[in-house]
């Protein structure tokens, strides 16, 4: 019998047992639903992280450090390492525990600049600012500070950014959230206005010594001693532009106030003076010439590693995030697969009943000269139809529900406009349905064999 005739006959026979067919298909459909939704969620999250990475990390920039922790995406490694002057303490845990980490020194920065593939080296200044204020208000507000990255232009509410290179020294980029707080009428109004950032220098060793000396003297003379005040510095900048939160910006601490690299460096030097962090950075950004080409970035990484640096590329960061997504997806996928496995027994049961019910029909077909192999395929194709129906029902429901819920889900998760958490890939769905058909055929294998082996004489004797 020809395949097309078998498929049609199997389809008609299913149609005559509609309720049973649909119920059996629904079982496999639940699996198809779960798997389709899981795949779509995986696609969505991967797409989102891709955008997150490309919006927040310049692919041409490498994160370069001196400590192996730079490349470690898991829990910090606490095994002892050799001490040298580049080691300093870093507070890591909420419990106040600190990690000693080898830092990049100013000499290292000079060395890094000498590589011929290096276009630019930007230290990662971690400036602890005190507050931000403006002449238009008497209030002071907290802030996070960051150096402007020319490779990563933020979205603007007002103002302008230079086409190329750093922003002008003495200017800053103000997040839109500060506009009203600092007493400006609008984002446009803030452009060119002055704001001030306060930073503080910790006690110098001399100040402390003086304090202790005074304390001893005071105790002796009964005079008053004043505790040393940290040296505070108020630096004034002009607002160059007002930034706003992009749809895919990766920022856990809110949008930072951005200064030029030189200005940030000056603040860093001021705030770290006299501390072990002075002139040292946890890591630096190294911009590779033509590093948008993945191969060039990887070559640079290899060369730097050879010289004892530890390097992370934006691909490495992406990998860390997608690894997490993959694990989640596999977990949910396993549930989908379990559902499919459960539905396999439903198919086997249905097919056995179908074979029993149609003993005479099978006998007749074999008496008329139909090959046992064709009889078996008739039933396998019937099972395949069930798999196909289940796959289509499940993925169609997932698609419908997903499309309907997508805006709500995206909003609830706060992914921002233009992102969607569920992305349906029709190629994937087609492969899924094809696999379910295959699974159903395997499920129908033994019932079909039973049908093929039926003795037509016995079968036709059944009254």
């Amino acid at each position: 019998m020809k395949a097309l005739d078998l498929i049609r006959r199997a389809g008609r026979s299913l149609k005559s047992a509609k309720v049973r067919t649909i119920l059996t298909s629904l079982a496999i459909g639940v699996g198809a639903f779960t798997l389709t939704a899981t795949l779509a969620a995986g696609n969505g999250i991967r797409d989102y992280t891709d955008r997150l990475i490309s919006n927040n990390f310049d692919p041409a920039e490498l994160i370069v450090g001196r400590d192996p922790e730079i490349e470690n995406s898991g829990a910090p490694n606490t095994s002892p390492k050799e001490y040298d002057a580049s080691v300093s303490n870093l507070t890591v845990g909420g419990d106040g525990s600190s990690l000693q980490i080898k830092q990049v020194t100013a000499e290292d920065v000079e060395e890094l600049k000498k590589y011929d593939f290096v276009e630019q080296v930007r230290p990662n200044y971690q400036v602890q600012a005190r507050y931000i204020t403006a002449p238009t208000t008497d209030k002071q507000y907290t802030l996070t500070l960051q150096a402007y990255n020319p490779g990563q232009k933020p979205e603007l509410e007002a103002g302008k950014l230079p086409e190329k290179g750093d922003i002008e020294n003495g200017t800053l980029l103000l997040p839109t959230t500060y506009v009203e707080l600092l007493g400006f009428k609008s984002a446009a109004d803030a452009i060119g206005k002055e704001v001030s950032i306060a930073t503080a220098q910790p006690f110098t060793e001399e100040a402390l010594q003086e304090y202790f000396a005074n304390l001893q003297m005071g105790a002796a003379t009964g005079g008053e001693t004043t505790a040393p005040e940290p040296t505070e510095q108020l630096t004034t900048y002009k607002v160059a532009a007002v930034t706003k939160q992009g749809a895919a910006s990766l920022s856990f601490a809110g949008l930072p106030v951005m200064l030029s690299n030189e200005d940030t460096g000056a603040l860093y030097d001021f705030t770290t003076e006299g501390t072990q962090n002075h002139g040292k950075y946890v890591y630096v950004y190294v911009r590779v010439k033509g590093g948008e080409d993945e191969q060039k970035a990887l070559d640079a990484k290899a060369a730097l590693k050879e010289d004892g640096y530890y390097v992370q590329t934006s691909q490495d960061i992406q990998k860390t995030i997608t690894q997490f997504v993959d694990v989640l997806q596999i977990l949910v996928g396993v549930f989908g697969v379990i559902t499919v496995v459960a539905s396999v027994f439903g198919i086997i049961n249905t097919m056995y009943i179908s074979v029993l019910e149609r003993t005479r029909e099978i006998g007749l077909m074999k008496a008329l000269g139909m090959r046992g192999r064709d009889v078996a395929w008739l039933f396998r194709i019937e099972a395949a139809w069930i798999g196909f129906l289940g796959g289509v029902i499940g993925s169609a429901l997932a698609f419908g529900a997903g499309t309907a819920l997508n805006p709500w889900l995206t909003e609830t998760l706060g992914l921002g406009e233009g992102n969607s958490i569920l992305i349906f890939d029709f190629g994937q769905i087609a492969i899924l349905i094809a696999s379910l058909i295959l699974v159903a055929i395997v499920a129908g294998w033994f019932p079909a064999r039973k049908a093929a082996k039926l003795d037509p004489i016995e079968a036709l004797r059944t009254e």
């Binding site: 006959r9 008609r12 005559s16 029909e361 008496a367 000269g369 139909m370 090959r371 004489i457």
Partner: protein
Amino acid sequence: MITLRGISKTYGKKKQRFQALKDINLEIPDGASVAIIGKSGSGKSTLMHVMSGLDRPQTGEVIVDGQDILKLNTKAVDRFRSEKMGFIFQAFFVQGNESSFHNVALPLEIAKVPRSKRKAMIIEALERVEMPEKVTEYARNLSGGQKQRLAIARAIVAKPSILFADEPTGNLDSATGERIEKLLFDLNKQQGVTLVIVTHDHDLASRCDIRVNIKDGVIQSVDTAKRPKAKGGKS
């Protein structure tokens, strides 16, 4: 021409051993109508199954059109059956959930007749049994007589040279049965189809050219009151 030589068929083993056919020798000329008569359990159905290649005897030869079908493998026997033989059963065995059209199409699909040729053949077969208007009707909605006529259409659609009928009128009232008998004998006479009827109805048997009486697996007598007509031959 169907020739049976030294056919013996045994079922079961040891104590349950049961010999259904004992040394059967029989010759059926092309275009003949043959009745195999016997009580239930006499071996008449087994004889029909052996002739059609559905059942394999332990010994003997079944020569159909010069070919010993016992020497063929299952695949070849299946093909042989689908191309040369038609079957009609007492219980009709039509598929109620299929239309008349698809019931009749089954043998054509099995014989791999191209789709383009099928429709005309199916309509022709349904016209032959005088029910072309039922082509789209589901078989379950047909009366008993109509079902059997549908079964006949299915049996003749692939133009077989031999038609096996196992108690074709057993489930029908006499008027309907009469109509079915007429249809079968018309096919036999007009198209030269060899007709082999298994029955215990002596009236039906008396209309056949050859009557084979069988009892306990042994042929008691072969009665040839009427000779097959000269024009009989392969269609």
